[in-house]
Amino acid sequence: MNKALYLKELKRNRKNALIWGSIVLGFTLMILSIYPSFAEMGEQMALLMSKMPQEMARAFGIDDETWSSIIGFYATYYGIYITLLMGIFTSSTGATILGKEERDGTAEFLLTRPISRASIVDSKYAALLTLLLLIYVIQTLCAVGGILAFGTAVDWDVFTAMHVARDCARGFLYCNLRIVSIVCFSQGEFHGPRCRTHFRILLFRCDI
């Protein structure tokens, strides 16, 4: 890991992170702010939705919980859209963070500096991870704020379980990590024995 390279990568990708971060935050606040109007017709919605084919409802992550509480409502959208948006950020940034160096020929600049290939990959990986975690933390805080503002009688245990326990066990963070590691470590010029070992360890930890 090289500090100078890590800092440079944070700086080079901050604009991308800012754009996707804003989209994620905007979406979070939007869905939370429309919950009150749904809550008013909660029972009607539940009735309406129960007429939908079960499979279809499940595909959209809709269940009884969706209409009965703000957490349930949030969970429905969180599970699909927010995870997806952050997945797009991670995979698009991850795909270019090394690939762009190769395409623009700047890989030669980087590889002729006194840094090892493994360290280049590590530093870039760490920078992407930092940005991802940053967006994740801010999104979580934002969701807490939105739930406090728009919800009543909130069951925080469910929220914590979703954002911390589930995410960290198998949910979106790992899903994103998996994308990061796949795109980062499958890029030609930077292949080295150590990178491949990392790749394998990560795949193992992600249960692929």
């Binding site: 100078a4 700047t106 030669e108 590889l111 500096r113």
Partner: protein
């Protein structure tokens, strides 16, 4: 311990030859030329030194650090000027040079960077994408020397530079060399090598064919002689002349031998005009092998 030590270095691209069994030793504080026609393997050798390519056989050391097993320490000693420049197009020269310096642990390159930019007349704040080829080259030159490396590896450094800038560039190399910097310099222009180097290696078809002092190289060097004589004057060619062509009063031939002998021979001719020129590299090599 030599600054650069190459032992039996071999690199093939599949079955394509890159370099084969190259042995070289560049002493500390030396300016060493590396000369050969295009495609002879100059860049392959240099790219292997910088760890961009893995050698198939043999080894190389820079300041005692093996380039394959301890490449990071080896590269930390080196300033490298690539023959083809690919920099981050969105950065300005200033950003690139600061980034470059930070990767060598040089935290305050500002003063030296501005000095060098003034010396080479480079606008540091323009995006690299907008720079002409010559200006990109200037940025690359500053980049190679900014962190005050012990060894400079220059791959065809003068391409794209105008004569004034070439002159300043060579002055700078001389000043750096006087302070003890080792310079390893590849080129296909013999006069550049003559001007700068004390010794030179000739590479051809991936193999080193000779390592010579520049004086020896010069003695073996061929000149192209073109002369115009008075009408009817007879010509007896000097010793060492070959490929003689005559049409009327115009004569041309290739000459190999002592320059002063040529000058005294010319003095005896009924000359109207004379041109001495450096033949292209290929004919120097042809001549070199014939002997």
């Amino acid at each position: 311990m030599p600054a650069i030590q190459i032992k039996g270095l071999t690199k093939f691209y599949g079955t394509q030859r890159g370099i084969e069994d190259v042995h070289l030793s560049v002493e500390r504080g030396e300016v060493f030329g590396f000369i050969g026609p295009n495609g002879a393997g100059k860049s392959t050798a240099i790219r292997t030194l910088l760890g961009l390519l893995k050698p198939d056989a043999g080894s190389a050391e820079i300041q005692g650090h093996d380039v394959a097993t301890d490449g990071v320490s080896a590269r930390a000693k080196v300033g490298y000027l690539p023959s083809e420049i690919a920099y981050y197009p969105e950065m300005s020269s200033r950003e690139l040079l600061e980034y470059h310096a930070s990767l060598y642990g040089v935290l305050h390159p500002e003063r030296r960077m501005v000095e060098l930019a003034e010396y080479f007349e480079l606008d540091l704040d323009r995006p690299i994408d907008d720079l002409s080829y010559g200006n990109k080259k200037k940025c690359a030159i500053i980049q190679a020397v900014l962190h005050e490396p012990e060894v400079l590896i220059l791959d065809e450094p003068t391409g794209g530079l105008d004569p004034l800038m070439q002159h300043r560039f060579f002055d700078m190399l001389e000043a750096l060399n006087a302070k003890g910097t080792t310079v390893f310099f590849s080129s296909h222009v013999l006069s550049e090598i003559q001007r700068m180097c004390s010794r030179a290696a000739i590479i051809r078809d991936g193999k080193i064919t000779a390592v010579e002092d520049i004086a020896t190289l010069l003695a073996k060097q061929m000149k192209k002689v073109r002369l115009v004589v008075h009408d009817g004057a007879a010509i007896v060619l000097p010793e060492g002349a070959q490929n003689h062509h005559a049409s009327g009063v115009k004569h041309s031939f290739d000459y190999v031998g002592s320059t002063s002998a040529l000058v005294s021979w010319l003095d005896k001719q009924a000359l109207l005009d004379v041109t001495l020129s450096e033949p292209d590299l290929e004919s120097i090599f042809m001549n070199y092998y014939q002997r």
